[in-house]
C-alpha cells in the first residue's frame, strides 16, 4: 500500500482499522507501522472518530420494544386459521363421502310388500262381520 491509498482509506473509513475493507486492512496496518507520517494522520482521523462516538451509543428502547412486540405475528392466531381451514375441509370431505358413498352403494332390490303391508289393517275385516 502506498501513502496515497492509505490517505484515501483513512479519509473514508477513519482510524479504526476494523472499519476498513477486509482485503486492505492488513496492508493498512503494516503501512501505519512503518511510515513515519502515518501516526499524525491516524491521530487526526482518531479525533473525529472520538467526536462521532458522542452521537453513538445504544438508546433505551425497552418501552418501544414492548409496543413493537405487541404487533408481532401470533402463533395462536395462525393456528386458529389453520384449524378452521382443516375443520372446513373435513366437513366438505364428510359431505362428499356421505353423498358419494350413498350413490356408490345401490339399494338391493327389495320386495316392497313389507312396506305396503304396514298400512294394511292389522285385524283383517273380522270386525265387520257379525
Amino acid at each position: 500500500m502506498d501513502r496515497e491509498r492509505f490517505e484515501v482509506l483513512l479519509d473514508a473509513y477513519g482510524a479504526d482499522f476494523r472499519r476498513w475493507p477486509d482485503d486492505e486492512r492488513a496492508a493498512g496496518e503494516a503501512f501505519a507501522a512503518q511510515d513515519a507520517g502515518a501516526a499524525a494522520m491516524l491521530n487526526a482521523a482518531r479525533a473525529l472518530d472520538r467526536a462521532l462516538s458522542l452521537a453513538g451509543g445504544a438508546p433505551d428502547t425497552s418501552a418501544l420494544a414492548a409496543r413493537i412486540l405487541a404487533t408481532a405475528p401470533r402463533r395462536s392466531a395462525a393456528f386458529d386459521t389453520r384449524a378452521a381451514l382443516a375443520l372446513a375441509a373435513c366437513a366438505v370431505f364428510g359431505i362428499v363421502l356421505g353423498y358419494g358413498g350413498g350413490m356408490l352403494a345401490p339399494l338391493a332390490d327389495q320386495d316392497d310388500g313389507y312396506f305396503t303391508a304396514a298400512f294394511e289393517a292389522p285385524f283383517g275385516d273380522d270386525g265387520d262381520e257379525g
Partner: protein, 192 residues
C-alpha cells in the same frame, strides 16, 4: 451466504414470540440509532423504528433467504423511511422539524457539557447531505462492511468511499472544536 437472521425471521413469521423478541433485541437499538442520526429527532426515530418492524412482521412469513441479507433489507427500509420523512420536511419547510428539544431537567456541569457536545455532533451530522449521512451511518455507526453498505445504498464501493470521505471532511471542519476538546480531556485525564 449465511444469513444469521434467517431462522429467526422464519420463526417470527410463523408466530414464534421468542424469535420475534430476539429479532427486536438484536435490531431495534440499531434501527432507532440510525433513524435518530438521520432525522436528528428522537420521537420521529421511534416512529421510524416501529414502521420498520411493522414491515418486518408483514414480510417475515414470506421471507426467503437469498439475494440480500435480512439486515441489509432492514437498513434499506429504515433509510427509505427516513428519506421519506426528510422529503416531507422539505416540502412542508417546517423550521422546527428535526430541531432537538433540550431536556429541561437540571444537569451536573459535566453531564451538561457531554450533552452539549453530543447535540453539536448530531447537528453536524444533520447538516450533511442525506447520502453522505447515510454512508457514514452504515459504515461508521452500524459498522457494515464496505460491500454491505454499498449494496444497501445501491452504489459502487468507489462511490461509497467518495461519500464517506466528503462526509468526514465536512464533519472534521464542523467539529474541530469538539474534537480538540476531547483530545484536551483525554490529555488531562492521562496526566491525572
Amino acid at each position: 451466504m449465511i444469513d444469521p437472521d434467517a431462522e429467526l425471521v422464519r420463526n417470527a413469521g410463523a408466530g414464534d414470540a421468542q424469535a420475534a423478541s430476539a429479532l427486536v433485541r438484536r435490531h431495534l437499538p440499531r434501527m432507532v440509532g440510525l433513524a435518530r442520526r438521520m432525522l436528528n429527532d428522537a420521537a420521529e426515530a421511534e416512529d421510524v423504528a416501529q414502521d420498520v418492524f411493522l414491515r418486518v412482521w408483514r414480510e417475515a412469513p414470506r421471507w426467503k433467504p437469498g439475494a440480500a441479507k435480512f439486515e441489509t433489507w432492514m437498513h434499506r427500509v429504515a433509510l427509505n423511511l427516513c428519506y421519506d420523512r426528510l422529503r416531507r420536511r422539505r416540502e412542508k419547510s417546517d423550521p422546527d422539524a428535526g430541531v432537538y428539544v433540550a431536556d429541561r431537567a437540571p444537569l451536573a456541569s459535566d453531564q451538561w457539557l457531554a450533552r452539549q457536545r453530543s447535540q453539536k455532533v448530531h447537528a453536524a451530522l444533520a447538516d450533511l447531505p442525506e447520502r453522505q449521512r447515510a454512508a457514514l451511518e452504515l459504515v461508521h455507526f452500524q459498522e457494515l462492511t464496505n460491500i454491505a453498505a454499498a449494496e444497501t445504498l445501491e452504489i459502487s464501493v468507489e462511490a461509497l468511499e467518495s461519500l464517506l470521505a466528503r462526509g468526514r471532511r465536512a464533519l472534521k471542519a464542523a467539529l474541530a472544536d469538539v474534537a480538540q476538546d476531547l483530545i484536551g480531556d483525554a490529555d488531562g485525564a492521562s496526566r491525572v
